[in-house]
């Protein structure tokens, strides 16, 4: 068992491409760390450097306090689950799981015992004599897990292990993987592009974009206080509504399109950075659940801010309803911050004519084409520098 | 012979071979209509200077008349001409005349129906032709058991001993050896004088020079049934005899000291003599012009050595080379042309031209006489040695020739035996004995296929 420390780790390929820039993360022993980001963000490269499958160009990697940059994968005592499982097609399930033990010259009976124990944990006992080709996707995934846990490794690495499963199985396996990790209790790094997986599984989540660490924190913190536009856009489903806006005189209001929301004194005190943006453009972010259909909730103090828009589409999810609406604000272009539309959030589609999505009660009385008002709690607004994308706090 | 039982007349194909039916004229077919030229194809193995000399004769014939136009086609090696002729015959596209080499004689002769016997063809067209028109060695080689010629002997040569005058003189040897034991002691003398290799033999045809011709020249039988002339069934080789074993042992002794060099059937040995590596060379007289062109030293031609103490030796050598066969299955109008072309080739003038330009011997006494009267032999004594060997004595039952079915295959077996002796892999006795056994198997296969 061991902690993992990445200290300004970089990866440059011979062709000059730099996949990872000065990545620094500490992962405590027993911690479940998720690396998340859109494809090409460098998360898999970072994981492979920890595994020892890629050389580290600069920076240091320590496992259990020992620098392991030059240590072979075998000696790092790291187990890894691959995206396509990478099972040995010519071996039975038992041999797949027991391969590493055999290489360590464990006795036959001891190997058998450990394989059986791992199979029990994973519910693979009755498949031990099968070959991978005879198994379902979920079973193969379990074998891959079994191959990793049977070794009692110091570090447990997973590279998108659920991405090849169908949606239902994926949800089941999320919990399963998290349960197994807690059971073996070693430091784990889990790579995914799926922010839902990241949010639900990680003790902490490191968001990577463009080879750089954007923010690393507990899932709720990422959601509530995204450090920059990239994280704001990437985390959350449906994605945060982001608009080009401008602060009014004395930062007392924010103008979004032709509408404006008053910012109370308390807010300005809480986020002193806002003062400097008085009269300047910013990007303002509003999560879908912070748009209250029909105005402020009755219990709330009276908000000075409302947004009015036209209903374009209604997505009824049963437990709630997503209301797509339009008004005259300009949406912040997410491509500017390296997140392509549709990559951040798989659910919650933003149509071309829409400018926003709001969550509403499942049976709210709205119809397409209707003009509606949304109450906005100013305290729940997010402000970002229009140029750097950094959060204004 | 079941097939032979069918009367073969010119231009009539046997039903068995399924050839297209031709006019079954018992009498000679007419000449082609005036103004109409008939094309005749002749397949040969003549390349290089031989091809040039043959083409010259062909164009002379074409110029001498206007009814027939002969085209000579070079088909490759002797065995290729034979296999191509066979394939063409089966496809009903045989040439008019094909040049079949000595060793293929039995194969075609015993395939009655595939050819029109030349003696019959000539009599159809009233052209004077008899076995006696040819020199003994050539006529006897190709005649049937009834003393008739099914094919016309043409390019005929016989092995002779070439010797490098300069190297022999340098070693103090004034005349070339006349016996094999003399040759062996001369080899030691040459070696002592720094001439390591004394002798080489024909590359592809060492079994011809040192087994077949060795037998006839020294008067030993080569196979039973008078070397195959009087029967097919029960054919057996007689090569496992003391003289042949001793001869190969002698060559083996020389080879072990580097005094005899032969490098397998696929390697030409001519350069070994012409570049001075070996002082003496057993090779066909047909190579005379080639050697003359390449050798930069004075050389002579002598008769082959004989086995010392052998009373009968020297007997006579037999011809090697090929004869011309007229194939059956051609349109009737072709055959008069075939006959006239062959008649032209056997004329004294043609034979004199051919012999003097190639190193082959004239196959007719008339050709020889013409050359003598022209003084050719006095100016070219080397050319006379082959004629002398062939006509040294009247052929005996064992020296008229060698008529074995699948002789090319038997030769392969013999070449293997010679290679085994020369490389020291086998003793001469063991090699010859196993060659005879293998050869007899081949002869038995031929007998069961051709023996009726």
């Amino acid at each position: 068992m061991a902690s993992i420390t990445l200290d300004r780790v970089s990866k440059r390929y011979p062709n000059g491409f730099q996949a990872v820039h000065d990545l620094s993360i500490d992962i405590a022993d027993g911690e479940f760390m998720v690396l998340v980001g859109p494809s090409g963000c460098g998360k898999t490269t970072a994981l492979r450097m920890v595994a020892g499958l890629e050389d580290i160009s600069s920076g240091t990697l320590s496992i259990g306090g020992r620098v392991v940059n030059e240590v072979t994968p075998r000696e790092r005592d790291v187990a890894m689950v691959f995206q396509n499982y990478a099972l040995y097609p010519h071996m039975t399930v038992a041999d797949n799981i027991g391969f590493s033990l055999k290489l360590r010259k464990l006795s036959k009976s001891e190997t058998k015992e450990k394989v059986r124990a791992a199979a029990d944990v994973l519910g693979l006992t009755e498949w031990l004599d099968r070959k991978p080709a005879q198994l379902s996707g979920g079973q193969r995934q379990r074998v891959a897990m079994g191959r990793a846990i049977v070794r009692d490794p110091r570090v447990f690495l997973m590279d998108e292990p659920l991405s090849n499963l169908d949606a239902k199985l994926r949800v089941e396996m999320r919990a399963e993987v998290a349960r197994i990790q807690r059971r073996i209790g070693v430091a784990a790094i889990y790579v995914t592009h799926d922010q839902t997986e990241a949010m639900t599984m990680g003790d902490r989540v490191a968001v990577l974009g463009g080879g750089r660490l954007q923010q690393c924190d507990q899932p709720q913190v990422l959601y509530d206080r995204p450090a920059n536009l990239f994280v704001a856009a990437f985390i959350g489903s449906p994605a945060m509504n982001l608009y080009r806006a401008a602060l009014g005189q004395g930062s007392a209001s924010v103008h979004v399109g032709s509408q404006s929301i008053s910012l109370p004194e308390s807010l300005r005190r809480g986020r002193p950075g806002l003062v400097r943006y008085a009269g300047r453009p910013v990007v303002v972010g509003i999560r879908a659940e912070d748009l209250h259909l029909g105005g402020p909730p009755q219990a709330a103090e009276v908000w000075d801010g409302c947004l009015e828009g036209r209903v374009e589409l209604i997505e009824s999810l049963g437990s709630e309803m997503l209301v797509h609406f339009s008004f005259d604000a300009e949406r912040a272009d997410l491509k500017d911050v390296g997140v392509a539309d549709g990559e951040a959030a798989e659910e919650g589609w933003v149509g071309a004519s829409d400018t926003g999505i709001a969550r509403a009660e499942p049976r709210a009385a709205v119809t397409i084409g209707q003009m509606v008002r949304f109450g906005v709690d100013p305290d729940r607004l997010h402000f970002f520098d229009a140029g750097t994308g950094e959060a204004i706090v | 012979m079941a097939v032979a039982a069918a009367a073969i007349s010119m231009g009539i194909a046997t039903a068995a071979c399924g050839s297209p039916t031709k006019t079954s004229a018992a009498a000679a077919a007419p000449a082609p209509a005036p103004g109409h030229t008939v094309d005749l194809n002749v397949w040969t193995a003549f390349s290089g200077s031989l091809g040039t000399a043959f083409d010259h004769l062909v164009s002379q014939f074409n110029a001498s008349q206007s009814q027939y136009r002969v085209t000579a086609v070079y088909k490759g090696s002797y065995s290729q001409v034979l296999s191509d002729t066979i394939a063409a015959f089966k496809a009903h596209a045989a040439p008019d005349i094909s040049q079949i080499f000595d060793a293929g004689t039995a194969t075609i002769m015993d395939s009655a129906g595939s050819y029109v016997p030349v003696y019959k063809l000539m009599s159809e067209y009233k052209i004077p032709f008899s076995t006696g028109s040819f020199i003994g060695g050539a006529a006897s080689y190709y005649e049937t058991s009834g003393d008739q010629l099914d094919s016309m002997p043409f390019n005929s040569s016989t092995p002779v001993l070439y010797y490098n005058k300069a190297e022999l003189q340098a070693a103090g040897i004034s005349t070339p050896p006349t016996t094999w034991s003399e040759l062996e002691s001369d080899a030691s003398v040459l070696a002592a004088h720094g001439q390591k290799c004394a002798l080489s033999s024909s590359g592809a045809y060492v079994m011809w020079t040192d087994m077949e011709e060795f037998s006839t020249w020294n008067g030993y039988p080569y196979a039973n049934h008078q070397n195959g002339y009087t029967g097919i069934k029960g054919m057996q080789l007689k090569i496992n005899s003391a003289p042949i074993v001793d001869h190969l042992a002698l060559l083996g002794r020389l080879a072990s000291k580097g005094e005899y060099i032969w490098n397998g059937v696929s390697t030409s040995t001519v350069p070994l003599f012409t570049n001075g590596t070996c002082a003496m060379y057993e090779q066909s007289s047909a190579s005379l012009n080639t050697i003359e062109a390449a050798a930069k030293f004075p050389f002579g031609v002598a008769e082959l050595p004989v086995v010392a103490g052998d009373k009968a030796a020297p007997q006579n050598t037999v011809v090697g080379g090929a004869s011309l066969w007229v194939m059956s299955g051609a349109p009737a109008v072709h055959y008069r042309g075939d006959a006239e072309f062959l008649h032209f080739l056997m004329s004294a003038q043609s034979q004199a031209y051919w012999a003097s330009n190639t190193g082959y011997v004239p196959v007719t006494p008339a050709g020889s006489s013409l050359l003598s009267s022209q003084g050719f032999y006095s100016s070219h004594p080397n050319d006379l040695v082959a004629v002398k060997e062939l006509t040294n004595k009247a052929p005996t039952a064992d020296s008229r020739g060698i008529r074995l079915g699948y002789l090319p295959e038997v030769r392969q077996v013999e070449a293997s035996a010679i290679a085994a002796v020369l490389s020291g892999k086998q003793s001469a006795a063991a090699a010859v004995s196993s060659a005879e056994t293998q050869g007899n198997t081949i002869l038995a296969q031929f007998a069961s296929q051709y023996g009726g």
């Binding site: 890894m80 691959f82 | 071979c17 395939s111 129906g113 699948y406 290679a419």
Partner: protein, 291 residues
Amino acid sequence: MPPVFKHRLLPAALILPEVVVVVIFFIWPSGKALLEAFRQSNAFGLGARFSGLANFGSALHGGYLQAVEVTATFTAITTLVSMGISLFLAVQVESTGRLRPVYRTLFIWTYAVPGAIGAALWLFLFEPKVGPGARALEALGVHWNFALSGTQAFALVCALTIWQQSAYNFVFFSAGLQSIPDAVVEAATMDGAGPVTRFWKVVFPLLGPTVLFVTVSDVLAALFGSFAVIDVISQGGPGGSTTTLVYMLYRDGFQNGDVGLAGAESMLLFVLAGALLVVQFKVFNRRVHYR
């Protein structure tokens, strides 16, 4: 799938060219060879008669057993050595970087040289007197003359066949290696396997189908395709030391004009090759893992 064609004529017409090719170039000649094997006739095809098993008797006589031995040795040596060399080269080339395409072309290249031309080239290299290869061997103290030494002729024919066959095998081993997912090899690395263990426990078993294919191709090439090389180098000699069964068949049938004997020999070779392939598939099928 339900039938796509309404008419029966169209599918028949579509497979007709294939059927014609198979019948003309395979079934008809094979039938002819089978027929001739039980007949004796002279070279010109005249006077054919049924002869029972006489041709088979003659075939099994004489040099046949030697040819079987030569063929077996030749097949075993060329197959094993060329597979070993090509697999080694393919593995090495796969682990190179930017120069990989260059190496690949280099090693495949020899297969583009037609058999007879390659043979002529080697014939020149190892010509006993002037060939540079022969001189090098002489310098090493080998008395080189393959025209007389059966062992040397056999070695030369083997070496040349291996030289050509290795390039062919290399193509397939390269492709086979590329089709093995990197992740599986990486998984073995993570499981603690070193390069040698990775190769023998993971890569080689996954090459199973390729190995089977290459073995079968090599055996067939040795049994049937050695003809051109032998014809150019040694014509089966000296002393039958390079006479393989197929060369013997060629010589008996085409040079010696004994069609019946050649027919019998071709039937024997056919049975032998068929039996060998059945054994190969049986042995391999128990071990090969098809992905």
